[in-house]
């Protein structure tokens, strides 16, 4: 039973337009959410995160929105660039240890293609 769901396996967007990647979760205990970007033959790299006490976090062209009542988050990339083409994974953290380091629960990913 998937706790983090990315229902769109792929997305194509024209260069310069907005890319919106969606993620839904089922576990209300999750309190920290992250987006990772993965290129072929490389490990995922951290992109942006958001704590459950916020509803928006912005970093340059990347903005993550969190709707706790809907258990939904989204990643907006604007303007999209061809170099953004990659697989994007949504991940959530359910801290149960005081240290705060806990395994992440990942979605299956969405492959974004930005067309020039």
């Amino acid at each position: 039973d998937q706790q983090v769901k990315q229902n769109s396996p792929s997305l194509s967007v024209q260069e310069g337009r907005i890319s919106i990647l969606n993620c839904d979760y089922t576990n209300s205990m999750f309190d920290y959410f992250l987006w990772y970007k993965k290129y072929p033959a490389e490990g995922p790299t951290f992109l942006i995160s958001i704590s459950s006490i916020k509803d928006k976090n912005e970093d340059g062209r990347f903005t993550v929105f969190l709707n706790k009542s809907a258990k939904h988050l989204s990643l907006h990339i604007v303007p999209s660039q061809p170099g953004d083409s990659a697989v994007y994974f949504c991940a959530a953290s359910d801290p149960y240890l005081d240290s705060g380091n806990t395994p992440l629960v990942f979605g299956k990913g969405t492959r974004l293609s930005v067309i020039a």
């Binding site: 990315q6 490990g43 994974f89 992440l104 990942f106």
Partner: protein, 115 residues
């Protein structure tokens, strides 16, 4: 500084053989994680080491899987009597808890193919 490294990058093995996958985390990172990504799937948590605490093995799919972390640094994931369903990319990550940051840094992965 150096990131997380993993070796080998690719491993092809025959069904029934044992394999060892190695992870060198970022120096000073106290937490180390193993995940795997099977074809068309997300990253699946396997095992987690935090400092000197007993590892969290709750994600290991069977008793054929084991891992150890020596000296709080290098980790080895061992799969005994490999099966074809073990074929996947095995990813290692490490992290250093900083306040509310849960960022994990991933290695490039080991692609395991069981024939």
């Amino acid at each position: 500084g150096a990131g997380v490294s993993q070796s080998p990058s690719n491993k092809v093995t025959e069904k029934g053989k044992d394999v060892e996958l190695r992870c060198d985390p970022i120096s000073g990172h106290t937490a180390l994680y193993w995940y795997r990504q099977s074809l068309g799937q997300g990253l699946e948590f396997l095992i987690y080491f935090q400092g000197n605490s007993a590892p969290d093995k709750s994600g290991l799919p069977s008793d054929r899987f084991s891992a150890e972390r020596t000296g709080g640094s290098v980790s080895t994931l061992t799969i005994q009597r490999t099966q074809q369903e073990d074929s996947a990319v095995y990813l290692c990550a490490s992290s250093l808890y900083k306040g509310s940051s849960y960022e994990q840094y991933f290695g490039p992965g080991t692609r395991l193919t069981v024939t």
